[in-house]
Symmetry: C2
């Protein structure tokens, strides 16, 4: 097969006449490369990463884009090389980010999505995907606790954009004239959030013309408080804001209550742990990223809105080439004008198909297992020599499945060695007055107690002489 | 195989112990479904769409998300059903949007991207993809005409967001204090654009707190003009603004010049047609969507910025859990803090791999062919009974590959019948004082003269009695 591809080029593939044979052979060869990568991803004897510095990778291969075409053999070789140096984010010992793991049904769904290659902006060109988004958003709203799953929502390219949507519609709700006249026409606004909230809150305020100074913790005169962003599962500590108390205050002062549950939202699937989000049903809007704790492939982030119609009236521009009012079907299924984007990637199918495959109980089991593993890790290291918990156990019960430890203030050196060996990956960082500590995330369904044991021993091995 | 999957569920797949066999069989079965769909997509005897109204689709199948898991057999059946009712956007007779066609190398690249399942925010977890983005953005800037490919850029979730980025950094460049203090601290701003520009310009102004009223064509006192969004390939007419004249004015008054070349940017690949973008090299920023005229799978949109460092300083928040300053590699490869998003989908690989496969000359040939077909269509219908060109030939030379015609003011009825037969798809719309007309887009590499002939005859057949 290799010799076949060494003299074929992409114009021999479909839609070329009689291109079926070449196309099938090419895609099957590619599938073989992908299947081998998947096998290795789950194989503990394989490295998580074969790390190289940027210049080494840049100079070690020919990545250049030329005037002339390359052969399909070269294309397949490029695929192999790309995967050789990729981080195996599905590897049982990959703990580096909030999004880890590789779900086989989610992957199948993403391949199908790529093959369908369409756009969420109208029912006309994405009928099934639009309906599945409709069904899934309603189900998610029901899980939040809004009566009958009422409200609205949209899948967006990540939690930061979902949070920006929330701030955008909150401002619009209070001062609809801002859409036409801008910030100059309305009072100075203040949004409240915790010091451990995600940076996207300040980023949103900067982008929306509110300014980063408009995001504060303290009371200021002369400003109109319009927005509270509570966090359900902070990015670093995994902590939960007290949602019920925040809801009471927001109600009293008529302030929009947003819950950034990008990370913690998955707990709504767990009868054992969903109490941590008590009060979320009183929110005006909720960000919930299935691509984090629920293990859906990237990207999959939802913004849920309690009030129907706001997303549409805030963002609509009625582009007549997309949203013709004399279409033959119910226009409420054309979601495009709710979005800041025009075209919108299909992010729904992988979540829907995984949900079908696992059932709600399957997601619950997966999440409960991760939280059990976090407790296992906590118990193993809390009294272990050389480790120190950044937070004590009392605080920890308010955390999700993040646990923190550091060893000898040498996290960066250990991380460098870890990358060189490629045996496991975990992230570190400073926070406030804490020196660098490892931020341990368990969201990978492939991880077991054995992998936790391995991680601890590997950190000790890598740091023994520091 | 069917009977095997009827008693297996998703927990039998990897990472289950000994899950390799089931996983491979499941993914191969899925691949078979996808390959059949691809074959049909290119088969002219297959419908473009098997259209059903939303309620029929909702009620005709069980799409519900339940507590219990479903079998893998059910999951494969869901995949078949989803594709049965999908719009075949790669079909040679699908002309409905600016993004059409299904490139086999692009598809392979997207499957690989899904399998690698990572995030663009740091080099640490996406080393190869970050480098490929670096190489490709530089190449695109060189094609725009910026010396040595200098500058900056980012791939974003679509042209509307790319345009929003441009307005955001233009405002920041003129008034950096806006990031901290918001719109209240700076003068009222005015952006200029043409009446045929994309609605995302007004959408951006509304979101950024400038207000839709801040986007105008005429001079106003008391405002600071800060931004001109010129269009290279308008969404409806495919028209080009006179970029050189606009560049002269922007230079004289020190106004940020943005070129929205989401649609027209692909012409930079064509020696024959790139003159239509003369002057683009004088822009401060350019939006260019390879997922439109270049046929890269959705989503693939780039914002290119001439001045290096602006994207970073405008958007950075220095989240310490991602962008640790004591990392072991060159931090300039961590692109995450340039983005409004936090996590960012890998959109680069499909473009890079297609470019490798076709070479620049392959893209050029593909685009030149589409423009030739547009001319063929124009010549066929300009004097044809029952059709009327919305624009005459003289105007048309400034267009890309859009041609317009309408028949008997009955476009909506014809479209409804077209969807019912499913034989082809083309979009219609009103614009200004023009009644509904068909907006014909040719960006599909699979389309031939025969498909153009078919379209014309099909419109006549469907509309003969109206």
């Amino acid at each position: 097969m290799a010799c076949l591809f060494s003299f074929l080029v992409s114009t021999d593939l479909l839609p070329a006449d009689s291109g079926e044979g070449v196309t099938f052979a090419f895609l099957e060869q590619l599938m073989d490369i992908l299947l081998q990568y998947i096998l290795k991803s789950f194989d503990r004897s394989t490295k998580v990463i074969d790390f190289h510095y940027p210049n080494d990778l840049l100079e070690g291969f020919n990545w250049e884009l030329d005037e002339q075409p390359n052969t399909l053999e070269d294309i397949l070789m490029s695929c192999r090389t790309t995967l050789k140096y990729a981080v195996k984010t599905g590897h049982p010992r990959y703990f580096n980010q909030l999004s880890t793991g590789l779900d086989m049904v989610g992957l199948a769904a993403d391949w199908l999505t790529s093959t369908a290659n369409t756009n969420m902006f109208t029912y006309e060109i994405a009928p099934v995907f639009v309906l599945l988004e409709y069904i899934t958003l309603k189900k998610m709203r029901a899980m939040i606790g809004w009566p009958g799953g009422c409200g609205d929502g949209i899948f967006s390219p990540g939690g930061a954009i979902s949070n920006m949507y929330a701030m955008l519609i909150a401002r619009y709700k209070l001062f609809p004239e801002v859409k036409e006249k801008g910030m100059a026409a309305i009072p100075k606004l203040i949004a409240f959030t915790s010091e451990h909230s995600h940076f996207s809150i300040k980023k949103s305020a900067a982008a929306l013309g509110i300014g980063m100074d408009g995001v504060v913790l303290i009371k200021c005169d002369g400003f109109v408080p319009f927005y509270v962003s509570a966090t359900a599962g902070t990015t670093v500590y995994g902590a939960f804001d007290p949602l019920v108390a925040i809801a009471d205050i927001c109600k009293k002062y008529n302030i929009w209550m947003h819950v950034d549950a990008a990370w913690g939202g998955g707990l709504l699937m767990s009868r054992k742990h969903r109490w941590k989000l008590n009060g979320v049903e009183r929110a005006c809007s909720v960000t919930w990223n299935p691509h984090k704790m629920m293990g859906v492939p990237l990207q999959c982030s939802a913004l849920l809105v309690r009030e129907e119609g706001l997303l549409q009236s805030c963002n609509q521009m009625n582009a007549c080439y997309l949203f013709q009012t004399d279409k033959q079907y119910d226009l409420s299924y054309d979601t495009g004008d709710k979005a800041l984007q025009c075209g919108r990637h299909v992010d729904i199918f992988k979540l829907w198909l995984m949900w079908r495959a696992k059932g709600t109980m399957g997601f619950e089991a997966q999440i409960d297992k991760c939280l059990d593993l976090a407790e296992y890790l906590y118990n193993k290291i809390k009294d272990r020599e050389g480790f120190e918990m950044v937070f004590d156990g009392k605080v920890l019960v308010r955390f999700v499945n993040l646990t923190y430890f550091w060893s000898f203030q040498v996290a960066p050196q250990i991380k460098t060695r870890m990358m060189a060996f490629g045996t496991t990956m975990v992230s570190y960082q400073p926070q406030g007055d804490k020196v660098n500590f490892f931020r341990m995330v368990i969201s990978n369904p492939a991880a077991t107690q054995e992998d936790i044991d391995f991680l601890i021993e590997e950190i000790e091995r890598l740091g023994h002489d520091l």
